[in-house]
């Protein structure tokens, strides 16, 4: 084997990796926030009694959850311009990850909505609130509390999906790592550090969500 570890080259490029990580986080936060808005609308559609809401929402979720995200990333960046819809690399990737997150978050939110007692909606109706007011002031805040414990695995998985932006040369963490790998030949070191950065970030995301969960926990 005769491979001796030498982290020097990686440390010299550490700034480059960190910048990549920051970009990864930026992509994830933006896309997941947009995806959460999409997911929320879809989740309400999925639990509604109106077929014209349920069918399109179910179709959206089923199609997207069964497609590999890399196909979507390439499609948005290389094929959409053919239809006259041209976006730069970053916007194109954010579009894809947002749409994709929407499908996954919709399922998480739907489960959270189903566990809210129907009586709360009735109590809201009884004091004269409209359905929209009930959704925003009662159902959504409770749903968020319901889903927080199960949200972290979805959020972490979506964060990891930002690595696919490397396929269209967005200089996020994976792209940066590959560049250092090719230029420095410190292969093992590069991927060890990269993996460590991803793992540490995933732990931080999980810790952050647990913190939010505790902050929002209702006193009893």
């Amino acid at each position: 084997m005769g491979y001796t570890l030498n982290f020097g080259a990686v440390w010299r490029n550490f700034d480059f990796l960190l910048h990549g990580l920051m970009l990864s986080l930026g992509l994830a936060v933006t896309s997941i926030l947009i995806g959460a808005a999409i997911g929320l609308v879809l989740a309400f559609a999925l639990i509604s009694k109106n077929r014209f809401a349920v069918v399109p929402a179910r179709l959206y979720v089923t199609v997207l959850r069964n497609l590999p995200i890399l196909v979507l990333v390439l499609f948005a960046y290389f094929a959409l311009p053919q239809m006259g819809f041209r976006l730069d690399k970053i916007k194109s990737f954010v579009l894809v990850l947002s749409v994709y997150s929407g499908a996954y978050l919709a399922e998480v939110f739907r489960a959270g909505l189903l566990s809210i007692p129907k009586g709360l909606t009735e109590a809201g109706l009884a004091i004269g609130l409209t359905s929209m007011q009930i959704r925003t002031s009662i159902i959504a805040p409770l749903m968020v509390r319901n889903v927080l414990p199960s949200l972290s695995s979805t959020v972490i998985s979506l964060f990891k999906d930002t690595s696919l932006a490397a396929a269209i040369a967005v200089p996020e963490l994976t792209f940066a790592a590959r560049k250092i790998n090719v230029e420095s030949f410190r292969v093992i070191e590069t991927w060890m550090i990269t993996s460590a950065l991803y793992v540490a970030t995933c732990f931080l995301i999980a810790a952050l969500l647990r913190f939010v969960e505790r902050r929002l926990a209702l006193p009893r």
């Binding site: 590999p68 890399l70 094929a79 239809m83 990891k160 994976t174 790592a177 790998n181 793992v199």
Partner: protein
């Protein structure tokens, strides 16, 4: 336009089929190897001693905290750097198998731990050994939890198999890109690839639902 797409599709039919075949082979190999490894991972997490549990927990946390694309790239570059020349196919399948093993490990752990403690105690009380308890009491119950989740992992693997295109394995997505580079029909051929992936994964999803119905105990 559509005439030319059909022409191009006819020309590319064998290339697409070989790509699809490659994607299916990658997924099957990764699922098989990953599941065997994953069962050991899960058992170690539940029945292992403290040191083994810690080591295996570190393994699953690292694998689950790393994007699959990073696993694929690392497997490919690292294996050649240390002189084990695996080639893109084997390196890619290895990465997916590792990814699969951590998922399967978690599912196995979850399935085993969902069984009430009283079951083991009841088995002991009627004099079963650990092996007997495991094979005739714990395993059959765990399988009911395990199977539907495992089928879903299979769909994850098919999706992850696309990542091997990045290291040059000629699976469906790379084949599609090659075809597009010749005829520039990116819209049509990405749609086609998407449709093929959807059909395979949707089939797996329906099968998972079927398995779930079949394995649910009557109540």
């Amino acid at each position: 336009m559509s005439q030319s797409f059909l022409d191009q599709l006819w020309t590319a039919r064998y290339v697409i089929m070989s790509g699809l075949g490659m994607s299916v082979s990658i997924s099957l190999l990764a699922i098989l190897a990953g599941s065997v490894l994953g069962v050991f991972v899960g058992m170690a997490l539940v029945f292992g001693g403290a040191a083994l549990r810690f080591a295996v927990r570190a393994y699953t946390d690292i694998v689950r905290g790393t994007p699959v694309l990073v696993l694929v790239l690392a497997s490919y570059y690292v294996s050649s750097a240390v002189g084990v020349n695996l080639g893109p196919f084997t390196a890619g399948v290895l990465a997916l198998a590792i990814f699969c093993s951590s998922h399967v490990g978690e599912i196995v752990r979850g399935a085993l731990q969902a069984i009430p403690k009283g079951q083991t105690e009841a088995a002991k009380a009627i004099g079963l050994t650990f092996t007997q308890t495991f094979t005739s009491v714990l395993w059959p119950q765990a399988m009911r939890q395990f199977l539907p989740a495992w089928v879903n992992t299979a769909a994850e693997m098919v999706k992850a198999s696309t990542l091997l295109s990045v290291i040059g394995v000629a699976e469906l997505l790379l084949r599609t890109q090659e075809i597009i580079s010749r005829n520039f029909l990116s819209l049509q051929f990405y749609f086609l690839a998407g449709a093929l992936y959807f059909i395979v994964n949707y089939g797996i999803e329906r099968f998972g639902k079927y398995v779930e119905r079949k394995t649910t105990l009557p109540s």
